[in-house]
């Protein structure tokens, strides 16, 4: 699974520009689904039909987003520097001197104009990308206004932990792909959806959920890990604590029956788990549960340090627990469980 995580996190795919990551995932899931399709917003939907075509099967939608945060070029100045705006939640304090890459492979570095006063707050309009061009014409040969860049960083394993850009949410995609490999049959009809544009407002999940209208929704995404030195632990999730079962985040109150089922399943199979509350963030689950007349939805999260930076860190214990929990959940007869 480590190679899979490396391949996925190192692929380009900021919101609205997911073609390359979609092609990569298509390769990874070849032969693992009965039907694979792409919808209008670019969501990749892989359908795994239920074991029996005679009995009524619950429809489950499992979602992880393919897109990552990035930058969009708003202007190319006379000297060939690129002005930018953000795609998704960019933290101005952790982007300086990072490398970025465009879809055509052009690499650059992000820097900022010198502050007028030392304590001045950071501003997006003071940032620029330097692609090493000597002038506007040279820059325009490689990029255009409207082109999009993502972080350019390789994935590194540190024992049982890994750091990479776009763990949010390529780790969720990797977990879903592992589940597709391990889950030979299921009594449920499962839609594995690799969604687009989550970082800019859960847009892919909104339209995908409408089209599928599942009986049960499960999002797989990262959550914050609050076990680093500078924080008094105020929220519960920690690296190595197991699969983080969502209770509440900024956009979703997990359906109590779904949360209960996840906890019971983890306990019954001795899968390490923890309960997850996140204050400043949400997932595709928030879009799924408000679809049409409402869909019972829960989230399995991977605790992650340094979310929305170029070096996000996860623990393989939590990743493996998430895979195991999801496999066990999807193996249950969810019709009989009331979904």
């Amino acid at each position: 699974m480590k190679d899979l995580i490396k391949r996925l996190t190192e692929t380009y795919g900021p919101s609205g520009n997911e073609d390359l990551i979609r092609e990569q995932i298509k390769k990874e899931i070849k032969g693992l689904a009965n039907e694979v399709k792409t919808d209008v917003l670019g969501n990749l939907i892989a359908v795994k039909k239920a074991k029996s075509s005679k009995l009524k099967a619950s429809k489950v939608m499992v979602a992880a987003h393919m897109d990552e945060i990035g930058f969009i070029v708003t202007h190319i100045d006379k000297q060939g520097f690129l002005r930018v705006s953000n795609i998704g939640g960019i933290y101005l304090h952790n982007v300086l001197a990072q490398r970025v890459i465009f879809a055509n492979g052009t690499v650059g570095t992000i820097n900022e104009e010198r502050a007028e006063t030392p304590s001045e707050a950071k501003r997006m309009d003071k940032l620029y990308i330097d692609i090493g061009a000597s002038n506007k014409r040279e820059a325009e040969a490689k990029v255009a206004v409207g082109d999009v860049a993502g972080f350019h960083r390789c994935c590194t394993f540190l024992g049982n932990r890994a750091i990479a850009k776009s763990m949010d949410d390529r780790i969720g995609c990797a977990i879903m792909i592992e589940v597709m490999k391990k889950l030979k049959t299921s009594p449920n009809e499962i839609y594995f959806v690799f969604t687009t544009q989550e970082e800019v407002g859960l847009r892919g999940a909104t339209t995908a959920a409408f089209g599928i209208t599942p009986d049960l929704g499960i999002a797989v995404d990262v959550t914050g890990a609050f076990d680093t030195p500078d924080e008094k632990p105020k929220l519960p999730s920690v690296l190595g604590g197991g699969a983080a079962i969502k209770v509440k985040d900024a956009g979703l109150l997990a359906h109590p029956a779904v949360k209960k089922l996840m906890i019971e399943t983890a306990k019954a199979n001795k899968i390490p788990y923890q309960l997850d509350i996140l204050e400043g963030g949400t997932t595709d689950g928030a879009a799924i549960y408000m679809t049409k007349s409402g869909i019972p939805t829960g989230v399995i999260s991977v605790p992650t340090r340094y979310v929305h930076s170029a070096s996000e860190m996860v623990d393989m214990v939590d990743v493996k627990a998430s895979v195991d929990l999801l496999v066990k959940l999807l193996s249950l007869n969810l019709q009989q469980k009331g979904f």
Binding site: S15, G16, N17, D39, V40, L41, I72, V73, T74, H75, D77, K78, Q79, R83, S85, N86, I87, D125, A144, V145, G146, Q197, V200, R203, T206, T207, A208, F210, G211
Partner: protein, 344 residues
């Protein structure tokens, strides 16, 4: 040739968000003989339908959309001395309000947003402060609350008093955002195409894309073109930094790649830019990452709709007066007409 008389009628019309009736009547009168069906939905959106030329095989469904509403104000309180307090409807910079002429209610009672004359500024720097709209008032010349209440009421809509004017190459009016889009849609509805055409004239875009949220639901189109007004940045600005001032007047219609609400469909962007190139129509790319339009809601309808925004640049948008270029409006029309010839 663009129809300046119609643009004048549309921009002078009364239609702050939630009160689009007069604009809707004008549009209805203009299009009813040219379309096969007209309906007004629960949100007040005017939705017109024009069947494809030949019904031999299943035709594509194309949607065009523009909003009827404009930004304005609403009377919230009439004080004892007959002055009116107001709230903003839509996004307006408080700085544009001082000393402006307005029209209130359906009788268009004239008023002025008063400002303290410079002779009376005693505190140092007071005139440099920006007054919040909450501190401002409208003066209709009434000397008491009772007198004011004979003319206006709480809840009355307030519109900017800016009559249309032809300045030669440029035209001046209020509400180019988005009566210019409505104008283009009226013109496009005059022809019949090789696809089924739905035209949605929406309401309440300026207060949260509300009409747009439902406009595409019943007849989910295969593609949608949102026709809008967009801010032009080609006026003198205090900073001389080279950090982007596009779009500019006279440089052609403006295509959105990404704004705060939508990533426009790459295929539709290419269709527009290729058509522009083939017909030697200059186009500009809207500064990515700013603003929002009905496209933000339309592209998320049901299972998703391929959407693109084509706009006319307007200087001083969302203020009491805007300027746009006749050449840009004509170029935008030509681009849409040529693009529609290619769709079947």
């Amino acid at each position: 040739m663009i129809d300046l008389k119609l643009i004048e009628q549309l921009t002078n019309a009364w239609g702050v968000s939630g009160n689009e009736n007069q604009v809707r009547q004008i549009i209805r009168k203009q299009i009813e003989k040219n379309v096969d069906d007209i309906r007004v939905d629960a949100m007040g959106n005017l939705i017109a339908f024009k069947k494809a030329k030949s019904s031999k095989r299943k035709a594509l469904k194309v949607m065009i959309s523009g909003h009827m509403d404009e930004v304005g104000l609403m009377v919230t309180h009439i004080d004892k001395s007959g002055y009116l307090k107001f709230d903003k409807v839509g996004g307006i910079d408080d700085r544009v309000l001082l000393a402006k002429r307005v029209l209130i209610g359906k009788d268009r009672i004239p008023g002025v947003i008063g400002v303290k004359p410079i002779h009376m500024i005693y505190r140092k720097g007071e005139h440099k402060k920006v007054s919040s709209h909450e501190d401002l008032f409208i003066d209709i010349g009434a000397s008491s609350q009772e007198e004011a209440q004979r003319w206006v009421s709480m809840g009355d809509y307030v519109m900017f008093d800016t009559p249309y004017e032809d300045w030669g190459g440029l035209i001046k009016a209020k509400a180019f955002d988005d009566r210019i889009g409505c104008y283009m849609m009226i013109e496009l509805l005059k022809k019949r195409y090789n696809f089924d055409l739905y035209a949605a004239f929406t309401t309440q875009e300026e207060v949260g894309l509300r009409g747009g949220r439902v406009a595409a639901y019943r007849h989910l189109p295969d593609m949608a073109f949102i026709l809008e007004g967009t801010p032009a940045g080609d006026f003198p600005q205090s900073q001389v930094k080279d950090v982007s001032r596009t779009p500019a007047l006279g440089k052609g219609p403006v295509i959105t790649v990404m704004d705060r609400t939508v990533f426009c469909d790459k295929g539709l962007i290419k269709l527009l830019t290729d058509t522009a190139k083939a017909n030697r129509i200059p186009v500009q790319i809207k500064r990515p990452g700013t603003g929002g339009t009905d496209a933000g809601r339309i592209h998320m309808t049901k299972e998703g709709v391929k959407t693109v925004v084509l706009a006319t640049a307007v200087r001083y948008i969302h203020s009491t007066v805007g300027l746009t270029s006749k050449r840009d409006v004509a170029a935008g029309m030509k681009l849409m007409e040529e693009t529609f010839k290619k769709i079947r």
